[in-house]
Symmetry: C2
């Protein structure tokens, strides 16, 4: 049955007040879908249905709900319910959820957890934002040096149900130092009395709690891992980050780059749930900065007042085309470079190789665009050969300059540890504008003899 | 030991010609690192080391190499070696690799595989590019309705070593219809005689061979899956896509969006391995198209020739600032919308909600920018209140228009099944330019009485 048919059936049961049938029909659905269904209901019905779900399912469903829906629920349910919810949730999901809540609600939730969980949660909440520590889970499967395959397998059967993944088992020594990782598939195929040291992979790839989540994602992707272990400064195992959370990190990091490249202050809130004032505040600083930068472009035009007032108006009419093409050429290169840097395909050392490549690309692109523009100005705008030549030559220079600027700025930003994504279209456009207008007017002045 | 220390040691062994020690030191490294190490060597040394690796490791290493290195290798090794390499590789990796090779090399590789594999490979190569079929693997673990837990476990121990993942087992009936999925963790905890129908999850989330890889990635991410089953049109199980491949899909789809948003024809080749001519060809069509569009902006300026020649030059000097700010405002909104659409956080139905939100954001952003610009033109450019007022009012209108255009175009593109990513900065900028200049000159003409 398709999901929209199921949803219709669920709504029908809800409307007819058949709550126990509804509970049965809801329980067999995927928690992700149950969460989406509950969020589409009004507050009372959401609360009602949430309460009829079995405890273990409701904790799962809760983890998949949006921040807003979770806050609504947590403010509506009693202290006992909070306690049982938190005890059924994975610790990393609880941390995620607490990070989104207002301080007073966090306080109420923490008051309703036992002392041990509270201490753990407080530790997690202190890890730097977007660090490996802040996204890891402590529900991993561990084994100890000296254990046998059979003993490890028995342990998995005993406690594995509460672990976020049992497919990779982490081997630690008496001091909890990470010694190895063991894939469940190897364990299944091993002889019962095999020492785990003989089947584990030594020196597994790991991260420390303070490493950035971007590094975590890059390593998981590079080595095709299902989970990566997180160690503290003394190399002791403290948690793991699983592949499903890494996918969310990858998307979040990409979204951040998209936002920075469009001159937006990155925000983790979803668009539809952000207030207009907050959205405006995310945009104004960059727009103001860029608008101040554009003053220089204006000054260049004012400087060449005489030229513009006395020459053919076609010169002025070509300003937008020149600015836009320059901006677009610069944006194309900078996007490729920024993306290459983000995916570790390009490093600063490649700068001369890239410049040389872009120079050749620019020669070709510039040639095609200039010839097209020359003919266009000559034939469509009916301007003279001189004017058409000035425009075409300026365009060629602009393309080459834009390529060079779009290629160097992100690489230089990386070199001085700024985020290369900031050197994208908006900033490049403004810089290319000023450069291309200067070139344009200088060529025109020289060729037309107007000063 | 850090990787660069290991690398130094390996190079030292290589230089001293100690091949058997080198083999031993290389074998215990991660295949990802071995691949990177081999790629850093010259052709002969790469080939030498590749040949000394044990067969199962060399197939793994081969899968992690770049397209160029793989082609170099395949052209240097003999037919027997090709045969053994292909038989040790996972089928999806072989398909990936064949897709990148020139036709004559593909032919040679196919000639060196047995008839069954060749047929399979040919089927795979016929799936549409970027479809679920083209990225799936057939090395999955299956179980049959009627089996018990113990029997399934025995089967995993027998054939599991050759499967890409054994952590999810797919349950099929006699006609190979997909009936359920079974997590290995549930199987481990089940009683020996439990029928698998009683422990499997019914109606698992699945995709068909022709579904786009973007859909595959979205479902895996939504439901936090380790792998997703792929079925044919008759709902028969034909393959699976694993989470590690999904991560690569997510990055590839994001790269494609970044490229489209910068007016680049998407390309799957890495930047440094693409020739300048190919790069130029990826860029010229869009630049030409946008440069043709800019002709209209030029026409608007020509139309208002009289105004520009007779009014204060400040009016002309403000054109770049107006164009850039409009472009930036439009780019900010369109980026948010395009990203929201890509992550399924926004749908076309939200259009009025978004327009209303953007209108309020525009009122605020426009106010701040206009006041700033009014004062700037008045005080720094020493223009009169009238001119400053014209510029400020035009800027306010431009911001509001840019927001509306940046919000509607991606949503409309989605509605008519175009890729919203095409409606990004470059196109929006060109459209906003024409709109804002028209508004600007109309306001100026009306206020100054020049026609």
């Amino acid at each position: 049955m398709e999901w929209n048919q199921i949803e219709e059936k669920l709504r029908d049961l809800l409307d007819r007040g058949l709550h126990s049938e509804l509970r049965g029909a809801l329980m067999v659905q995927n928690p992700v879908d149950i969460a989406a269904f509950l969020e589409g209901l009004d507050r009372e019905k959401m609360l009602l249905l949430f309460r009829v779900l079995p405890k273990d399912i409701s904790a799962d469903v809760f983890s998949y709900m949006s921040a807003d829906a979770r806050q609504t629920l947590i403010e509506s349910i009693g202290d006992n319910e909070i306690r049982s919810l938190i005890s059924d949730m994975f610790l990393d999901d609880t941390v995620d959820f607490l990070e989104e809540l207002p301080a007073n609600v966090v306080k109420r939730v923490l008051q309703n957890t036992d002392a041990q969980t509270r201490n753990l949660l407080n530790t997690f909440l202190q890890y730097p934002e977007n660090s490996a520590g802040s996204i890891m889970t402590i529900e991993y499967m561990e084994a100890h040096t000296g254990d046998t395959a059979a003993r490890t397998m028995a342990e998995i059967k005993r406690v594995g149900i509460d672990k976020e993944t049992i497919y990779t088992i982490y081997v630690i020594d008496r001091e909890r130092h990470l010694c190895g990782s063991l894939a469940l598939r190897k364990l299944i195929l091993a002889a019962d009395d095999a020492p785990i040291e003989s089947i584990m992979t030594e020196n597994p790839v790991s991260v420390t709690t303070t490493d950035d989540q971007e590094k975590v994602a890059a390593l998981v992707r590079k080595y095709d891992l299902l989970a990566i272990p997180v160690v503290d400064k003394e190399s002791r195992l403290v948690g793991i980050v699983t592949a499903d959370d890494v996918m969310d990190v990858i998307q979040a990091e990409n979204t951040e780059d998209f936002e920075k490249m469009a001159a937006l202050t990155p925000s983790e809130d979803s668009y539809l749930h952000t207030s207009p004032i907050k959205l405006a505040l995310n945009r104004i600083p960059w727009l103001l900065l860029l608008s101040i930068a554009a003053i220089f472009t204006g000054m260049i035009i004012t400087n060449f007042e005489n030229l513009l007032q006395n020459a053919d108006v076609i010169l002025t009419a070509c300003i937008p085309m020149l600015m836009d093409t320059g901006g677009n050429c610069g944006a194309q290169v900078s996007t490729l470079i920024i993306r290459g840097l983000a995916l570790n395909e390009i490093t600063f050392r490649d700068i001369f190789r890239i410049l040389w490549k872009e120079f050749r690309v620019g020669l070709l692109v510039g040639l095609v665009l200039s010839v097209f523009t020359f003919l266009r100005v000559l034939l469509i705008n009916q301007a003279g050969v001189l004017i058409a030549g000035i425009v075409a030559a300026s365009l060629y220079c602009t393309v080459l300059l834009a390529k060079a600027i779009g290629c160097c700025l992100p690489l230089l930003a990386k070199k001085v540890h700024l985020d290369p994504a900031l050197m994208a279209s908006p900033l490049i456009t403004t810089i290319v504008d000023a450069t291309s207008l200067t070139v344009y007017f200088s060529i025109a002045t020289a060729m037309l003899g107007i000063r």
